[in-house]
Symmetry: C2
Subunit: 343 residues, 2 copies
DNA sequence: CTCAGTTTTCAAAGCGCTTTGAATGACGGG
DNA sequence: CCCGTCATTCAAAGCGCTTTGAAAACTGAG
């Protein structure tokens, strides 16, 4: 069932039918109702491609999945962010498209998506420090939003981000206030912007308290469970092991907990742990009392906000740049306690 | 830059340029090269919508995310399955589209996608027992593939699935061979087909060994970490607690491990645990030696296979139905051991 | 040099929609 | 009863591509 057929059934021109369905004012109300009834009855759905071709808009938002050639890691927060965004897209009549690109072709992929007219805007996830893609998209003058920010990029751009620095600053201060002096940081890959900011917050708190940062207590890699376990085991072997550990993800924090258990240490008593909690749906931080003391910020909500902002940008390309800084909350759970006396 | 412009630059007709780029034989090789060079030079990318409109194919595969109104759960395996599929799609020139639909509108959403001509095929994820959507799609006579199967649906359809029954049968037997008699099952939601099959395997193994299944040892719900913890805690309170636990996901198994630790029990000695491991990229089951004894099957690989099969189906709609049963491997880790003597 | 056969190129139609510019019909004031 | 006005409706062009059917250019045999 296409527009032509429907208009023939109704004995109307395509113009009138199209206008009736799209809510244009120059259509008799009686006619509109008749058209709408027929459309519903025959299950008419305008062809998206034809519509897109005619309007010049695709009503699709693109996301590029960087299927890294090196590490086959799929970001665990991906699903929740996407779920948040998808809901908003749906409410505004947008579809969501994913394209896979290996590290070498990400830039070309973005360019492609727009030149092919496949998308009206894109979401840029997981920005690195000096993220080149931001400049590329800016130069292309296309609507996009960054989930995160990128240190070193001077051009203005829309973004939603968690206040990574401030949340790790506060978390570190919290540990210092509890008397901890040897505080470790198990961070994400340091070329990721969020990881860099978290480290800044951590370092600033140490400095405020006149504590000297120790390279041996600062680790960084892709945030898997195994990684958290490995680094924690390693640090517990040190002559003077840390009494507290900041971990950049819940998944890795679970690995840290495993390491502590294996070493016969009790989390929160022998070693304090603070994790960053993205509030993932399948990995809630405990039921009532949080398991981990954590800096918490819902990545799902970030997805919703990002989608909303991107759609705004598509609607008004010339609006001034918008940014949104989400403040993570510091929730206190059972994984932190006063520094143990070890003499 | 569109076809018209490009053909004017080249002094050729649109027909010839189009044919040259799409590899048709009736084009002079010299011309083809000239066209290709110009296309590359000017960064020409054919407009997907126009192309789709002209060919009647959209080169897009649809996935519907059921953003359940009740439980806001995003399946943790989603990301990995999608990453696997995306890679295959990309290799075949397909894009991937996501649409969000709440529980009440899933059916309508599938119908919409095809009627709007937005997709050439869809992937149906997470089928339940008597999955209605399969019948709907069959009746619509559109290309689709099911990740999983659905007990109770008689019509033939393409699917990829893990042998859930056999893997849980083998896992349960393995525990029985180790002397366990009180074996618990912490399963997914029982209206999900995979959960039902796993329970069947579990029950069959018990029956073979003349063990009576106990309702108190069989739990089912959405597979979060908290759920695993909660059910394990609960069962440890029983007069005669289980000596072994089968868990339908790694995430929940982590919750079970937490419960055991809190109770001062050692996993693999006091209580054995076997988990189903989807081999998620961010949640590897240990480094060299698996942490959990597990039934393992890569969901990422399933994604790749599903995508491949769906594309085949789109290419040859009349081929006989294809199915693919993946056998999970039983990897032995540190979480299982002989049943403890408790008298 | 001619002509059938082959290779190469082209103009134009068509995919299903929106949108422009024009036509039609109804209405009421003069 | 005529005509300007407003409310409706319409035919046709256009979005950027593919594909059909025909034309042009080239080939080699006679």
């Amino acid at each position: 069932m296409n527009l032509k057929q429907l208009s023939e059934i109704l004995g109307l021109s395509q113009t009138t039918v199209s206008r009736a369905l799209n809510g244009y004012p120059e259509v008799n109300e009686a006619t509109r109702e008749r058209v709408q009834a027929a459309a519903t009855k025959h299950g008419y759905r305008p062809n998206s491609r034809a519509k897109g071709l005619a309007t010049g808009r695709s009503m699709v938002i693109g996301h590029v999945i960087p299927s890294s050639s090196q590490h086959e890691m799929v970001n665990p927060i991906f699903g929740d962010f996407v779920a948040g965004a998808a809901r908003t897209y749906g409410a505004h009549g947008y579809d969501m498209m994913f394209t896979n690109a290996d590290d070498t072709s990400i830039e070309r992929t973005y360019r492609d998506l727009f030149q092919r007219g496949a998308v009206d805007g894109v979401v840029l996830q997981g920005p690195k420090v000096n993220e080149h893609r931001i400049e590329v998209l800016t130069r292309m003058a296309v609507p996009f939003i960054v989930h995160g920010r990128s240190t070193g990029i001077e051009v203005p751009y829309d973004w939603v981000d968690v206040n990574n620095k401030s949340s790790f600053l506060r978390a570190t201060r919290f540990l210092i206030d509890l008397g901890h002096k040897r505080i470790a940081l198990i961070n994400g890959l340091e070329d990721m912007d969020f990881a860099q900011r978290r480290r800044e917050g951590y370092l600033q708190a140490l400095q405020e308290a006149d504590l000297t940062p120790e390279p041996a207590l600062m680790r960084s890699a892709e945030m898997t469970e195994v990684y958290g376990h490995h680094e924690a085991c390693d640090m517990l072997q040190l002559d003077t092991p840390p009494t507290a550990i900041l971990v950049s993800s819940m998944i890795s924090a679970i690995g840290v907990r495993r390491a502590l258990n294996e070493a016969g240490l009790k989390m929160g008593r022998d070693v304090s742990v603070i994790a960053h909690d993205d509030d993932l749906s399948y990995l809630k931080n405990g039921q009532d009392v949080p398991i981990f003391t954590a800096t918490r910020s819902s990545v799902r909500q970030a997805g919703e906000i990002a989608a909303e902002m991107l759609i705004d940008r598509i609607k008004s390309p010339d609006d001034p740049v918008k940014t949104r800084l989400l403040e993570a909350e510091l929730v206190v759970g059972g994984s932190t306690g006063p520094a143990p006396d070890r003499f």
